[in-house]
């Protein structure tokens, strides 16, 4: 209370203005991307049409024709959804066991899982290409992208689920055990309903990370399983000929994810700091 009383009237007016200004500056590039996407390619590079122009949906309508957008978008959806699903299928039982039946090794296993996340991808680039191309023959398939996305996000998924499950009183789970509920029943009927919010935000965050991944999806695909990251990376238009259409396809690639992100910003902290910042 004392803090509020001390504040001068001036700072009570200036503070929000400053905060709003900074927020708008940070959001501006995204706004500009969407704004440019409504210009024709010709208008997009004319200074006289910087702000005033006749908006058009042409770039969005021609997105399929220009970039084959939907093929890449569908690949992104398929790979991200299945990678998230598999990460949960493998991660939930693991986090369940760790949270409710911890052993002396649990902490070390968790730390080790996290350390796999810190392995620089570039270091294993060639072995991965070699294995998938020459050995397993799964290079540029949805299966490969799903497996890789699942594995690079699995440590974060397990960590997040673990921190959520840990909050649930052990007694509830044990009561279930007394009543003779099977382990599967415990997970399905007691744990998941109780930790529903945590599981959902873990899934959401995992999905976002999969969608935005830009190393393996670019290096391990060519055409069949190429995702939106690959599409944008391949169409960087160095001479600015296609600013309009490039903006449209970029906006379509990031729009849904930015909106999804708004819903899980709180959980993001926990997911990214492995529960170390609360």
């Amino acid at each position: 209370m004392a803090i509020v009383a001390q504040e001068s009237r001036l700072s009570r007016v200036l503070w929000p203005i400053l905060a709003w200004t900074i927020a708008i500056i940070f959001f501006f590039p995204i706004f500009w991307l969407v704004f440019t996407s409504f210009k024709t390619d010709a208008d997009a590079v004319k200074p006289e049409h910087l702000i005033f122009f006749t908006p058009t949906l042409e770039n969005y309508i021609n997105m399929t024709e220009n970039y084959d957008y939907w093929r890449f978008a569908i690949n992104s959806v398929i790979t991200s959804v299945f990678a998230t699903l598999f990460a949960l299928i493998v991660g939930v039982p693991c986090a369940y066991a760790m949270a409710f039946n911890p052993t002396r090794a649990t902490k070390d296993i968790l730390m080790w899982m996290l350390s796999t996340k810190m392995l620089p991808a570039a270091a294993v680039l060639y072995p991965m290409t070699f294995l998938t191309k020459n050995f397993l023959g799964i290079y540029d398939t949805h299966f490969l992208v799903i497996v890789v996305l699942c594995l690079i996000n699995l440590p974060i998924v397990i960590w997040m689920l673990f921190t959520y499950f840990k909050e649930i009183p052990k007694e509830i789970i044990e009561a279930g055990k007394m009543d003779g509920v099977s382990t599967w029943g415990e997970i399905k009927d007691i744990l998941i309903p109780l930790a529903w919010g945590g599981v959902a935000s873990t899934a959401l965050l995992c999905f976002i990370f999969c969608w935005n991944e830009a190393y393996w999806t670019v290096r391990l695909t060519t055409t069949e399983a190429a995702t939106l990251s690959k599409l944008i990376e391949g169409n960087r238009a160095p001479e600015g000929l296609f600013f309009g259409r490039l903006s449209a396809v970029s906006a379509a690639a990031v729009g849904p994810i930015v909106v999804l992100g708004w819903f899980c910003q709180k959980q993001l902290v926990q997911g990214l700091t492995f529960g170390a910042v609360k």
């Binding site: 209370m1 905060a19 900074i22 991307l33 039982p93 994810i257 990214l272 700091t273 492995f274």
Partner: protein
């Protein structure tokens, strides 16, 4: 008995998967780093298949170590990572403190602020290098041209014109050039990751002990001394975590480097490894092992820090 077996069984798939994912490719990299292995060689076709007969010992490591490009890549990696980390922490702190109080529309401000973090790296790079930083067609080019025109107009003024004619013609910066392409990467990644720092600092600020602060006010503590002696120590841990997580992420920056200038002037270690990997797999693998060592030095500190809070 079943009390112990089942939990272990439930963990097995995850542990096995991650074990294979880590050990197999890394083991191969380690092996390749000790042999002569190139993809194309007309002179020495026997080197084109990975065989133990082509054993080279530490030769690949020596080759990479003595390669000027390697040290430049290390320098660029470290320069880019440190700059991003310093900027994001400073901006992140300032903005978190700014937003950490109630004012009209705070929810919307938060949403606007966090948005850049969800933009995919490829779009981030395309957007900044083309639409914003381009010296002719981007906003930078347009702004510089506009300023020049304005100054030109002012030169025709009586009296004051003399003053303005002393001003030089401004020239826009080309951010794809060797000297500047690293800055472009730093700008765009800082934009994307400052929200991450803001979010974490804000979360941490909310758990700050308010009673302690009020007690300090009663004792007549000033704002600055309160920030230095109470808030900053409270933020010590989050700052350390933001620094380390970013270090690990940004050491493997790739898409931004590729899109801005294809490694011209900002080639970092992952990019160099990618270039080696187009032919000289032995060298790429040795450089990869160096990258693993570099990342591990940071990872050890991070893991210790995270490990401390794990079980409480």
């Amino acid at each position: 008995m079943s009390d112990r077996t089942l939990p272990r069984l439930l963990q097995t798939p995850a542990v096995l998967l991650l074990l294979v994912w880590m050990l197999v490719p890394l083991g191969m990299t380690l092996f390749f780093s000790f042999i002569r292995y190139v993809l194309n060689s007309l002179r020495r076709p026997e080197w084109t298949s990975p065989s133990i007969d082509n054993w080279r010992g530490f030769g690949n490591y020596q080759f990479v170590w003595n390669n000027d490009g390697f040290w430049l890549a290390i320098y660029n990696s470290v320069f880019i990572v440190t700059s991003i980390v310093v900027f994001t922490v400073i901006f992140g702190l300032a903005i978190a403190i700014l937003v950490n109080r109630s004012f009209p529309g705070r929810g919307i401000v938060r949403v606007l602020l966090i948005s850049p973090f969800f933009v995919m790296p490829a779009v981030n790079a395309v957007l900044w290098i083309n639409m914003i930083l381009d010296p002719v067609l981007g906003l930078q080019g347009i702004a510089v041209a506009g300023l020049n025109e304005m100054i030109d107009g002012l030169r025709d003024f009586p009296v004051l014109g003399g003053f303005f004619s002393l001003w030089p013609e401004l020239s826009p910066i080309s951010f794809r050039a060797t000297q500047t392409s690293a800055y472009a990467v730093i700008i765009m990644v800082t934009w994307q990751w400052t929200p991450f720092a803001v979010l974490i600092f804000m979360t941490s600020l909310q758990s700050e002990d308010q009673q302690q602060k009020e007690a300090a006010i009663l004792d007549g503590a000033g704002k600055w001394s309160m920030f230095r002696n109470l808030t900053l120590p409270h933020l010590g841990r989050p700052i350390a975590i933001v620094v380390m997580i970013q270090a690990i992420f940004h050491l493997s920056l790739y898409a931004e480097i590729e899109i801005v200038s294809r490694g011209n002037g900002n080639k970092n270690l992952p990019y160099l490894i990618g270039e080696f990997a187009t032919n000289n797999i032995g060298a790429a693998s040795a450089a990869g092992i160096f990258a693993v060592i570099l990342a591990n030095v940071i990872a050890i500190f991070l893991l210790r820090m995270v490990g401390k809070t794990l079980m409480d």
